[in-house]
């Protein structure tokens, strides 16, 4: 089958775009019949998120010539993903004769018939490994007996099917299942899944990729990846970005019938932080409204969720994924609504308010992901112009697409040349970390400090903290090999509008006295 995947006839359509010259193309476009293969061999792309956008992105990128793809997602598959995350199934691949173990999702109403069947003599060799409760289903892991013939598996399959049993993906890692499914369909593409948090990966992991494509639904995660990509950016003495250090990001996002796609070339186009105002923070209800003057169903729900839960369940934290917790909040909200004569509390609304559910549909995800994948292809190949730099899609009233060319914030803490810090050569690392918390432009507490990839001090994990603790009392000038000026990276907790978030920052450190000459140059240029 390897022959088929490398057969150039397979890629007839995309090769036309990559092998033929044109006049409306990127500056660095070098059309060639081998361009697609070259991209496939050389370029490594990271897809962040394997949800609604991520599934589409993996498919789109794999069918655009990308061959080395990694995907990272900490989430597991839920039933409510299945209306759009097309790589996930209720049942899949059961007829594979090599299958030995299968997970079954059994609807509550069919449980008894399954148990009855499992209890009969003939089927006793089916072993139930584990069972766990979902909201309205039971999950079983079953080991199939070593039958010799596939038709016997087939018999089981048919029985399970008519019993309302489904092989399913619910509960598995999104990244792992998505990677497996795309690789199974598109021979020759390599997708490496990472079932973990984006914070679990170190800088070198991210630095290995030529381009990062984001399919996320959270501002915090976007901000984090953005700061990592911008952290690789280096500037020359004249504050001009060094082209080879630019790590492009393509970011997509959707909400209902609306979405956006944007291209971030750190140092050249605005980064996520430069236009952070595009993502206004979520409005929260004042606690006094919840406690004293509730007016809407949402007020009653948030009262039950934020106030009543804590009053009743001392010390037990609320888990939005626990159906019993959600049911409790719903019933409490209902009681409160009745008390105040408020209507509209439903279980669905309760979930929506508590989990801050953003409506999502397949078509919008498809549109936004396709735009992102196309931009990724254009960035790595130069086969056409690139989006400059922010596209919004709105399908509520017609089909509106608007492209806005936003401008950079030159003082951006994240993608700018960096915050300049003047230090005495005697400043210790510990004093320096203290300074970061007080510096009005930074306000970063609990900072970990990295210099040229070397950990000077790490707050966690404990083992690293212990290893780096001895550096705290050493002057930072010494830790930086007595260079007059250089860039440092810090990570820590930033506090903005009472909201704590993990952050990464870039600092340009200049040592007083040693760096007089260099400092002079810096200040005259920036003024």
């Amino acid at each position: 089958m390897e022959g088929l995947s490398s057969d150039p006839r397979r890629w007839r359509d995309v090769d036309k775009l990559l092998s033929r010259p044109g006049n409306i193309v990127g500056q660095d476009f070098e059309p060639s019949p081998t361009l697609r293969e070259d991209i496939g061999d050389v370029v490594r792309v990271l897809v962040v998120g394997a949800g609604g956008l991520g599934c589409e992105l993996l498919k789109d990128l794999a069918l655009s010539g990308f061959k080395n793809i990694d995907v990272i997602d900490m989430d597991t598959i839920e039933v409510s993903n299945l209306n759009r995350q097309f790589l996930f199934r209720f049942y899949f691949g059961i007829l594979d004769s090599e299958i030995e173990k299968m997970e079954l999702l059994v609807l509550r109403e069919y449980q008894n018939s399954l148990f009855a069947w499992l209890g009969t003599d003939k089927k006793r060799d089916l072993i139930v490994l584990s069972a766990s409760m979902l909201r309205d289903e039971h999950r079983f892991c079953i080991v199939l007996p070593p039958y010799q013939h596939i038709h016997q598996h087939f018999t089981i399959y048919i029985y399970l099917l008519i019993s309302g049993v489904r092989i399913h993906d619910v509960g598995k890692s999104k990244a792992e299942v998505a990677a497996e499914r795309v690789m199974k369909r598109i021979n020759g593409v390599n997708i490496t899944p990472h079932f973990c948090r984006i914070e679990d990966k170190d800088l070198s992991f991210y630095n290995d990729f030529n381009i990062i494509v984001l399919g996320l639904d959270s501002i915090e995660a976007r901000s984090y990846i953005n700061s990592i990509a911008c952290g690789f950016l280096e500037y020359d003495e004249d504050d001009r970005p060094l082209l080879e250090t630019i790590k492009p990001i393509v970011d997509g996002g959707t909400e209902g019938f609306k979405g956006h796609a944007r291209v971030i070339l750190p140092g050249r186009t605005p980064c996520f932080e430069c236009n952070i105002w595009l993502f206004p923070p979520q409005v929260k209800f004042p606690l006094c409204t919840l406690a004293e003057t509730p007016r809407t169903a949402a007020h009653c729900i948030e009262y039950a969720h934020l106030i009543k839960w804590g009053e009743v369940h001392h010390g037990k934290s609320f888990d939005a994924d626990d159906p019993e917790h959600m049911q409790w909040v719903y019933l409490e909200a209902l009681k409160r609504a009745e008390l105040f004569g408020i209507t509209g509390v439903t279980f669905s609304l309760t979930q929506g308010v508590v989990k801050n559910i953003i409506p999502a549909i397949a078509s919008t995800n498809a549109i936004v992901s396709a735009a992102c994948a196309l931009e990724a292809l254009k960035i790595v190949s130069g086969c056409s112009k690139t989006l400059s730099n922010y596209l919004t899609y709105n399908g509520l009233d017609g089909t509106h697409i608007k492209v806005t060319d936003f401008v950079r914030d030159i003082d951006c803490l994240v993608c700018g040349p960096g915050t300049l810090l003047e230090l005495d050569t005697s400043t210790t690392l510990s004093q320096f970390i203290g300074l970061l918390g007080e510096h009005p432009k930074l306000l970063v507490s609990k900072a970990s400090v990295t210099y040229r990839g070397k950990n000077l001090y790490m707050q966690s994990p404990p083992i690293l903290e212990e290893m780096t603790r001895s550096n705290l009392q050493i002057p930072i000038f010494h830790l930086m090999d007595k260079v007059p000026k250089d860039t440092l990276h810090i990570s820590g907790i930033s506090e903005k509008n009472d909201k704590k978030a993990s952050c990464l920052r870039k600092l340009r450190v200049v040592f007083k006295g040693v760096a007089d000459e260099a400092l002079k140059m810096d200040t005259t240029e920036s003024s």
Binding site: M1, L4, R9, R10, W11, R12, D13, V14, K16, L17, R20, G22, N23, I24, E56, D60, L63, S64, V79, S80, L82, N83, R84, F86, F90, L107, D136, K184, R185, I186, F257, A261, P294, R295, F340, G341, S348, I357, P359, A360, I361, A362, S363, A366, I367, A373, L374, E375, L377, S384, K385, L387, S388, G395, L396, D397, G398, T399, I401, V403
Partner: protein
């Protein structure tokens, strides 16, 4: 089969958008897809995931190796098999609730020989068809009252166009729409309630919990008394009115008064209906007869309501936004608005019944729920009428075309519009699209160029010309169907299909022209 509960969970994220009504409209729809290349496959994939009722995939071709490079729904096992069959079986795997079937036939042949084939469908999505077939299909669908969505991907361009006689929308669900509070024109019950609050009261707790609706109604009345019965209208008057509001604040932190200041413009909203609504109630379709749709019967009743019962206003929407208030005042206000909306709805219901009787239909033919929903959305009704495609092709709106040709932001989009027509003529002459073979591209460019210029001059557009570079691009594309472009176009086509089937939101009005070069896609209403 999944239980109702599982189904609800599975579709939760979309039910929050179009509700159970919208979902059941999707589940009752029967969709036909013509050609299942990547554009069509992706369009259908999105609909199948969302739980569309039935699909029929029509394609006459066998799977070739290049199909595996741009269509995710096909894999190596599909090679040499019917494309329609393979795509259909993958779609079935995506959602077993969908009834999926396929027809192994070339769509052009069906259009040519068996127009009745289409009559069973709710909506047809026609992909990768050329001009002649599209025009014929459009006639067939219009004749049979079937909705048509035309979609096409071609290199870095593509298009989506809806065609049907008329599409009416009650739940247009606009993003931002001014709420219907009637502060400029309050009814007696509302005024009466407002008067129970004395704004000069000294109890600070009650003062800061008086809803802004009450504040504004009282102050508007006060203002009107001092201004010969008129509400603030000039900029200076509006400013003075705000000062009047400020003068009643006990301190600057009163949220309800801040809200009143922000909403003070609602007092100055002109009475009566918007120009859009005025156009709808004056449409010739309100001369209803027994063949009129329920929608137009309702519009006829709405016109009577506005003229006779509503004092120039449509039925009240009946809901109010959240605002700083004591629970008690807020709940009472809610009830006052609801009661008025209900009584307006009852009046409408009587008018609907009498109209139905007049046109010889059962007076109870239109459900109360439908009327209620109509009243709630009366200010947001939308009507889309589409020119038939043949007319657009033979006589597009020239001033619009001219305008686009001269507008830099539109130049690629409109250029591609002309060039997509040009490649179809090229194909009609040469039996192939330009640039499908490697080599000889310059000759292809010089063949395509006169065709494109010919189209412009046929339309009488001798002034503007097409960019040479864009013609080169079109030949470079060589009729390729790139997966990313197809996924985009298919995505738009499915999005529009959903809006048409659910009769919610407002569908695309003209031709959506995809511009994959710099993403400045545009809608051309020609």
């Amino acid at each position: 089969m999944a239980t109702a509960e599982t189904k609800k969970t599975k579709y939760d994220r979309q039910l929050r958008i179009w509700g159970e009504q919208g979902q059941s409209a999707l589940e009752n729809a029967n969709i036909c897809l013509l050609n299942c290349g990547p554009t069509g496959s992706e369009a259908l994939k999105n609909l199948v995931l969302g739980g569309i009722g039935s699909i029929t995939v029509v394609d006459g071709s066998k799977v070739e190796i290049h199909d595996l490079g741009n269509n995710f729904l096909l894999d190596e096992d599909s090679l040499g098999k019917s494309k329609a069959k393979c795509v259909c079986s993958f779609l079935q795997e995506l959602n077993d609730a969908v009834k999926a079937k396929f027809v192994e036939e070339v769509p052009d042949n069906l259009i040519e020989k068996s127009p009745s084939f289409f009559s069973e469908f709710t909506l047809v999505i026609a992909t990768q068809l050329t001009e002649t077939s599209i025009v014929k299909l459009d006639k067939i669908c219009r004749e049979a009252n079937i909705m048509l969505v035309v979609a096409r991907s071609y290199g870095l361009t593509g298009m989506v166009r809806i065609s049907m006689k008329e599409h009416t929308v009650i739940e247009s669900k606009p993003d931002h729409f001014l709420d219907d509070l009637r502060l400029h024109n309050p009814w007696p019950e509302l005024v009466e309630f407002a008067k129970t609050s004395d704004l000069s009261m000294v109890d600070p707790v009650m003062h800061k919990h008086t809803p802004y609706i009450v504040v504004l109604i009282n102050l508007a009345e006060k203002w009107a008394k001092g201004h010969g019965g008129c509400l603030p209208s000039s900029r200076q008057e509006k400013k003075d009115f705000k000062d009047l509001i400020k003068a009643h604040m006990l301190n600057i932190d009163e949220e309800n008064y801040k809200e009143a200041l922000e909403a003070s413009f609602k007092v100055s909203v002109p009475r009566g209906i918007s120009s859009e609504l005025s156009q709808i109630i004056n449409d010739s379709a309100i001369e209803v007869d027994s063949r009129s749709s329920d929608f137009w019967v309702l519009v006829a009743a709405l016109k009577e309501f506005i003229e006779n019962d509503g004092n120039g206003e449509p039925p009240l929407e009946g809901s109010i936004p959240d605002m700083t208030s004591s629970t008690e005042s807020y709940v009472i206000l809610q009830k006052i608005y609801q009661a008025k909306a209900e009584s307006d709805c009852l009046v409408m219901e009587r008018r609907v019944k009498s109209i139905l009787k007049r046109i010889g239909r059962d007076p109870d033919a239109i459900s109360r729920a439908y009327i209620k929903n109509f009243c709630k959305n009366a200010r947001k009704l939308a009507i889309c009428r589409y020119r038939n495609i043949e007319d657009e092709f033979s006589s597009p709106c020239i001033p619009e075309l001219q305008k686009c040709l001269n507008d830099e932001d539109y130049s690629y989009a409109v250029g591609f519009y002309i060039l997509l027509r040009a490649v179809d003529r090229f194909a009609a002459n040469h039996n192939r699209f330009p640039g499908i073979f490697d080599g000889g591209l310059n000759e292809e460019i010089s063949r395509l160029k006169p065709i494109a210029i010919g189209i412009l001059s046929e339309l009488g557009l001798n002034g503007p010309t097409l960019s040479e570079d864009l013609i080169t691009e079109m030949c470079r594309f060589g009729a390729s169907e790139l997966h990313a472009v197809a996924a985009f176009i298919g995505g738009v086509a499915s999005q529009e299909a959903i809006k048409l089937v659910t009769k919610q939101f407002v569908p695309l009005k003209g031709t959506f022209m995809f511009n994959g070069i710099d993403q400045k896609s545009q809608v051309l209403i020609l």
